[in-house]
Symmetry: D2
C-alpha cells in the first residue's frame, strides 16, 4: 500500500483528518430518523446504521485488534454482524438481511463509534508509525466510499416510498430553463503512449489503481460534457427502449425482464417528467446530465447517436491532460450542463461509465493481509466508471480512481460521457 | 354478519371494549424500540408499525369514511399504504416491501391511531346503531387477530438476529424437569351427527364459521394432550427428517429444498437443544408442547407414531363436548403438558393443525360489501388450525374459530394434536 | 387392495385383459414419430417413451422381481431411470430431465415391453394366485392412468410447437353450429346421508376410494351439463381475467404472474377464436364444454355466475343416483353439450373440478408395501376432479374414482360443472 | 467484411469448399440416433437437429432470400423456428424450448438442407460475385462454429444420462501412464508494441477480430503447456473448492450455489477419478490438460499457484511469434501434455481462458446489415478464450480468433494456460 497523503503531516494532522472524516459520516445521517437509518429496500443497499457500524468495525478489525495492545472489542458479536465480505476475517451476517437487524440500535452503534474513535485517537497519540498511518488512511478512504454509498442508498431507500420523502430541503434554486443547450462538442485526441494508474507512494491510492504503467491509446474524440436528460428523452421518445438494435444482448434481456422504459428515478405523471432526488420529486431538468442510468442504458444511448463510451484509459488521459479534478458544489443534484467548448463535468456531476471491464492492471498486487480482499476479488463482470459525482466526498477524487459496478446497476450517480473513434 | 357480543351493552360498553382492545395493541409494542417496530424479516411478516397503522386504516376505511359525515381522512396516501389485500378498496402497497417504509414514522402512526380513535368514539357517542356496532365489532376482532400476528412477527423478526434479542424478560420460572411425562391418552368418541359452526346472531363469529350445519363424524380417538418437544425429538433422533416414508410428497420436497432438520426455532448448540422464544434463547423444555411446526412436519410426525391429525370437525366436536375454552396464563410460552387423563391444551397452548383443508361451509356467504374479501378468497391450499395459543388475546377464543395457514408455514404458534381411527 | 374385477375369470381372462391393455398403450403411440415420443415440453409432462417404459417397470418391479423366481431384470439401470416417485424402491432419475434421455431408445423400450410381457404371461400361465392377480390388476389400472396421461402430454407437447402438429387426422365432422344452446338446468337434490367410496372387494378400486363411509350431504342443486366455451367466453368478454373479485387470492396472483387471459389451449387469431386439439388448431366450438381450465379459472367462473363447484360427495351422490357412467365416443374432443333437461356429461366429456380438497377418507389405509406410495403421499394441496373425460380409457371409469391435480394445472381435460346451494 | 480466403479460387473452388463444410455437419451427426439429435439437456445447448437447420437457415436468410431471384423459402415457418438471435430478421422461437420441437423431423431438416444446398450451388454456378462469396464464406465459418457447438452439446447432452452413452467407440489407445510430467516451463517475453487483430482483406476473419491495431504489451512469462488434470487435482486435494481466498467473489458465490467441487465432467467413483468423454466414461488421464473448467475455476487455480491467466494480447503475441497454429489429431480428447521446453498446445488441445473481457477493438465496426448482430451485441460480461480445441474444425483456426463465454460456463473444451508477470 502507498503511504497516505497525510504521511508527512505527523500524527496530529492525521488525527484531525480522522475526526473530520468520521464526523462527516454522522453529518450525513444527522437529518435521518432512527427508522430511516434502518432501511434496506433492496439487497444491493445497506442501512445507514450498518454503514456507520461497518466503517467502525473496519478500524476495530484492521487497526485496533492488531496494533493496539490490550484493546477490548466493543462487542464480540459485531465481528460477524458488521463484516461485509472479508472471508479472511471469518463469517459474515447475510448481506441481504442487514435491514433485519433492529439490534444493535442506532444509539448502540453511535456508542460503538465513540468507543472506537477514542481508542484510535489514543493509539495515534502514542504509536504513530507508518503501518498505523497506512491502515488509518485506508480506513478513512474506505469510510469516504461508504459516505457516498450512504447517499446513494438513502436515495434508493426513499425512492420506493410512494410518499417521496425528502432527504433535504432544497437549498438552491433548481433551474428549469428547458431551452435545450447546444450539442456536445467532440474534442480530438491523438494516439499516444500514456501513463495510466499510479505508483506514487506519497499519495494514497487503492491497489486497483496501481502500478503506473504505459498504455497505447489510439486517436479518439471525447465529448466536452455529459449527455443531458433532454437528449436522453429523445432516445426514449424515438422508441429506444423498444428497439433491440441499440442494446447489448444481455441489456435487452434485462430491460425486457424488468420492464424498463426510463431511467431508475424518472416518473411520468400527468404528461410531465419528474425525477426523484434527495430533495423529493422534482421536475426533470432537461439540461442537467442524465443520471442513474445503467451501463446497458449508456451503451444503448451511445449506439443510438452513433457514438461509444470512452475506455477508462482515454478518460484518464483526458483528465490528466486537463487537470480539472474539482469537487461538486455542496449539493446532491448535478447542475446544468454548460454549452462550453471545453471539457467539463469530469468529476463534479456524475460518474461516467467507460467501456472498460474492471480488470487488474499489469503487475497488480492486492494489499497484503486480509484487507487484500478489498478490491481484487471483484474484478469480474463489472465495468469501470471514472470521475466522481455530486455524492463523492470532496477530497476523495483522483484522476486514477477506478469505480466499478455491474452493467445492470443504476442506483449510483452514473451518467454518460460519449466518445468516438477519430476517422 | 352476526350481531356482535357487545350488542346489548349499548354504546358505552362498546366504547369501553373499543378502547381496551386498541390499548392492548399499544401495550404489545410498548417495549419495542422504534427500530424493532420497523422490522420485516420475511415477506410473510409485517412490521409492527404497519400492523398498528393497518388496524387503524380498517376503522377509517370501513367505518369512518362510510358512516361518519364530514370525516377527513388523516392522510390520503394511507389508503394505499395500509391496505392489506382489499382489491375492492383499490391498489395496495407491495406486501413484501412493508419494511421499506420509514415514513410515516412510528410517531406519525401513533398520531394516526389517536386521530381515528377520537373519531370512532365520537361517532359511537352519537350514532350507535346496529350497522356501526357490527363494523366496530368486526374491526376489533380484526385487531385482535393482528395482535396475535404482532407477537408472531416479533418473534420471527428477532429470531434472524444472531444476538437473539429478548422481547420480554422472563417473568416466570421455566421448568426444566426433563423427566418425560407419560404417553398421551387417546380418548374414544363415537360416530355422531354434530353441529359444526355457528349461526348465532348474538355472538360474533367470522363469516367462515357460518352457517351452523350438520356433519356426520365417524368414531375416532383423540389425544388428551399435545405432542411434546421430547416426543418430537425422538422423531428427529430416529431420522425422521431423512426418511421420506413419513412425509407428504410436497412436504418432503419442501423439507429437502430448505434443508430442514428441526422445528423453526430450535437450535442445537454444543450438544444441547435450545429454543428461541420471546424470552430469548432458552433450553428446550422436553415436556412442553412442540411448537412452530408446519403441517408437513405435523403429518410426518403423526405418520411416525401411526396416528393422524384430527379433522376440524372432530376437534370442534371435542371442544364443544368438553367446553374447555380457556385462555393461556399471561405468558408467551406454552407451559408443560400435563400427565392428565382428561383432554387439555385445547386453546391455551398451541394452535393445532387439523387434516381439514380450509374450504367454505355449506351455505357459506362472505360478508357483504368490500369486507367480503376478509376470508373467502383465501379458501385455497391452506389447512385449518383449531384452538388458540399463548399469543391469542384472551377473549378471542371460540370453539368454532377457524385459523388457517399454508402447509409449509411455521412461524405461528402451531403444535400437534394426534387422533386415530377407532377400530 | 381389493380383489380385481378379473378375479373370477381365471388366468386366461386376466392374460387376455393384460394383453389388451398393454396393446392399447402401443396403439396410442403408434402414430407418433420417434422424436414425438421423446418430447417433454414442461416438467409436469413426461415423454411417451418414458410412459411406455415406466408402466413396464411397474410390472417388473412390483410383480416379476418379487414373485417370479429366477427373473433377470432387463437392464439394471432401468431401476432408477424409470422409477417415478417410489422412495421405497430407491433413487429416481430427475423428473424434469426425462426428456433428456435419448438412450434407451424407443426401440429399446419396445424390446423391454416385449421382454416383460413375455415374463408376465409366462408367470400368469403357471402361478395364478390372488396376490399376483391383485398386482397385475393394479398394474393395468396404473397403465390406464398413463394412457390418459400420454394423451394429455402429447397434446401439451405439441401445443408449444408453433406449427400446431396434428396427433390425428379429423375422423368426425366438427360441429360449428354456434347458435348458443339454452342455459343449464339446475336439478335439486335433498339432504341425505349417503355412501361414499367403496369397500367392495370384488371390484377394483384404488386405496384412495376406500373405505366406503357415510357422508351427510346438504340439499343442493346440480347443473345438468358442463359450462360451454360460449359461456366461458362471456366471462372473458366481461373482463373476468381483469377483475380480482371473482378469483381466489392465489388464483389471482397466479393469473397475473403468468399473464393469463384465456384457457390454456385457446388462441385468438385475426378476430376469431381457435382451440388447439389433438386434431390441430380448430375453430372454437361455442357449444362444446370449456376444457383445460384450472381450478382457479373454474372457481372464478363459478363466482361470476353466482354459483359454486360441487363437492366430490355431491358429485358421487348424483353419479350413483343416475348411474350414467358411460365412456366417450372414440374421439379426443368433447362433443356438443346438449340442451337436455337431464344430467349429462358425467364421464364422457371432461373431468369436473370439485370444491373438495384431496384428502384421505375416514379409515383410509394405503396399499401395503412399497406401492403404498401410490396415492396417499399426494394428499396435499390438490383438488379432487370427478368423472372422466374423452382421454380416459373406456373401462377405467367408476363413480367412486377420485382424480386430483394442483389448482393451477390445466393440461388435463378439465371442465366446469356448476352447483348451487338450495335455498 | 473481409474477402474470404476462398476469394481467388473462383466459384468452383468455393462450391467445393461449401460442399465439404456442409458434409462435415452431416458427418458429425451420422452416428447419432434420431432421438440423440433431439436432445437439449440445458438451455445453453441446442439439439443437433436445430444446429443442422439453423446453419441452413443462415444461407437461406442471408443469401438466397436476398440474392437469389424467385427463390421460394422451403417452409415459411422456419423463419421463426430457426432464427437464433437476429432481431433484425424478426421473432425467434424461444431458445430454451428448442428441444421441444419434434416437428420438423430430422428427416425434414435433412430435406431442407438438400433443398438449400441445391439452390446455393445453383446460385454459385451462375452469379458468383464478391458479395455472394462473402456471404457464403461467412455462412461456412458460421457453420464451422456450429460444428464445434454440436460436439460440445452432444457431450453435454449425453453427460446427464446416467448410462454414460458413447458418442464414439475409442479409436486410439488412451494413455494412462500417470507418472506426472515435469512442471511447466515459463518462457519470457519482453515488453513490445505488437499488432493485434487483422485488417487483411484477403483472409476471412470475423468483425470482432478487426481492425488490426497496436497494443503495448508489458513483459510477461508464458507457460509452455496447459495445466494438467494431475495438477488440477492437487488444487482439489488441497481444499481449493473450500477456500474463498483463491476465488473471485462471483466465482465463490456461484461455486457454493451450485455445490461445485470438481470440473464439470469429472466423476469420483469407488476411490478413482473418471472423466466423461465422447468415448464414454474414461479413467482420468493425469497428464492430459484439465478441460471443461470455467473462468472462475481457471482463475482460482491460477491464484493457487501464484500465477495468472494471460491477456488475449499476450496470447496472440505468443501465437504469432511461434506460428504454431495446428489442428488437433482427429480425436475428441486432448492428448497428453508434453514435457517439452517449447510452447505447445496453443490450438490443438483446449481453448484457453484469458484475463481479457470480450470487448470491441478500437475502430470496431459490426458487419453491415442484419448480420451485424453476429458478434457485437455479445460484448458484455464474457471473457475471451484463445486458441482452439480438439472439437474445432481443422481449417477454422487463426491466431486472431476470439472465442468468448460467460465466466461460469464450462461445457466448451476450455483449459488453463498460465502466465506470470516478469519481475
Amino acid at each position: 500500500m502507498n503511504k497516505p497523503e497525510t504521511n508527512h503531516k505527523g500524527g496530529d494532522a492525521l488525527a484531525e483528518c480522522y475526526q473530520s472524516v468520521r464526523r462527516y459520516s454522522l453529518a450525513i445521517t444527522a437529518q435521518l430518523s432512527v427508522e430511516d437509518c434502518q432501511l434496506q429496500a433492496m439487497p444491493d443497499v445497506s442501512p445507514c446504521k450498518w454503514h456507520l457500524a461497518h466503517t467502525t468495525w473496519f478500524f476495530e478489525t484492521f487497526l485496533l485488534s492488531i496494533h493496539c495492545k490490550n484493546y477490548q472489542v466493543f462487542d464480540p458479536q459485531f465481528k460477524v454482524l458488521f463484516n461485509s465480505y472479508y472471508n479472511g476475517i471469518g463469517a459474515q451476517f447475510k448481506r441481504s438481511n442487514r435491514g433485519s437487524l433492529s439490534r444493535p440500535s442506532l444509539k448502540d452503534v453511535l456508542t460503538y463509534r465513540a468507543y472506537v474513535d477514542k481508542a484510535v485517537l489514543q493509539l495515534l497519540s502514542t504509536h504513530n508509525d507508518d503501518v498505523i498511518e497506512q491502515i488509518i488512511t485506508l480506513g478513512l478512504n474506505h469510510e469516504q466510499q461508504h459516505q457516498e454509498l450512504m447517499l446513494m442508498d438513502i436515495k434508493y431507500n426513499f425512492s420506493v416510498n410512494p410518499t417521496f420523502p425528502k432527504y433535504k430541503a432544497i437549498d438552491i434554486p433548481i433551474s428549469n430553463n428547458n431551452n435545450l443547450i447546444k450539442p456536445a462538442n467532440f474534442i480530438d485526441f491523438d494516439q499516444a503512449i500514456v501513463n495510466i494508474g499510479t505508483s506514487d507512494q506519497t499519495q494514497f491510492a487503492y491497489d486497483n489503481e496501481q502500478p503506473k504503467h504505459q498504455v497505447l491509446i489510439h486517436s479518439f474524440r471525447f465529448a466536452n460534457r455529459l449527455v443531458t436528460n433532454g437528449e436522453y428523452l429523445a432516445f426514449i421518445n424515438a422508441g429506444g427502449y423498444n428497439n433491440p438494435q441499440y442494446w447489448l444482448s444481455d441489456g435487452w434481456a434485462h430491460s425486457k425482464n424488468q420492464g424498463l422504459s426510463k431511467p431508475l428515478y424518472w416518473h411520468y405523471i400527468d404528461g410531465k417528467w419528474f425525477e426523484f432526488t434527495h430533495y423529493g420529486l422534482q421536475p426533470l431538468n432537461f439540461n442537467a446530465p442524465v443520471c442513474h442510468v445503467s451501463y446497458f442504458e449508456a451503451t444503448a444511448y451511445a449506439n443510438f447517436v452513433d457514438a461509444r463510451l470512452p475506455t477508462e484509459f482515454e478518460w484518464e488521459y483526458v483528465a490528466k491532460a486537463h487537470n480539472v479534478i474539482k469537487p461538486s458544489q455542496n449539493q446532491l443534484m448535478p447542475g446544468q450542463c454548460e454549452g462550453d467548448e471545453k471539457i467539463t463535468q469530469l468529476t463534479d456531476a456524475c460518474w461516467q461509465w467507460t467501456n472498460s471491464a474492471y480488470l487488474p492492471y499489469p503487475g497488480f498486487k492486492p494489499i497484503e493481509g486480509v484487507a487484500g480482499e478489498y478490491n481484487g476479488k471483484f474484478m469480474n463482470n463489472q465495468m469501470v466508471l471514472r470521475g466522481g459525482c455530486v455524492f463523492t466526498p470532496k477530497n476523495h477524487l483522483r484522476t486514477t480512481y477506478r469505480n466499478f459496478y455491474y452493467p445492470h446497476q443504476a442506483w449510483m450517480c452514473s451518467g454518460i460521457r460519449l466518445a468516438r473513434d477519430k476517422v
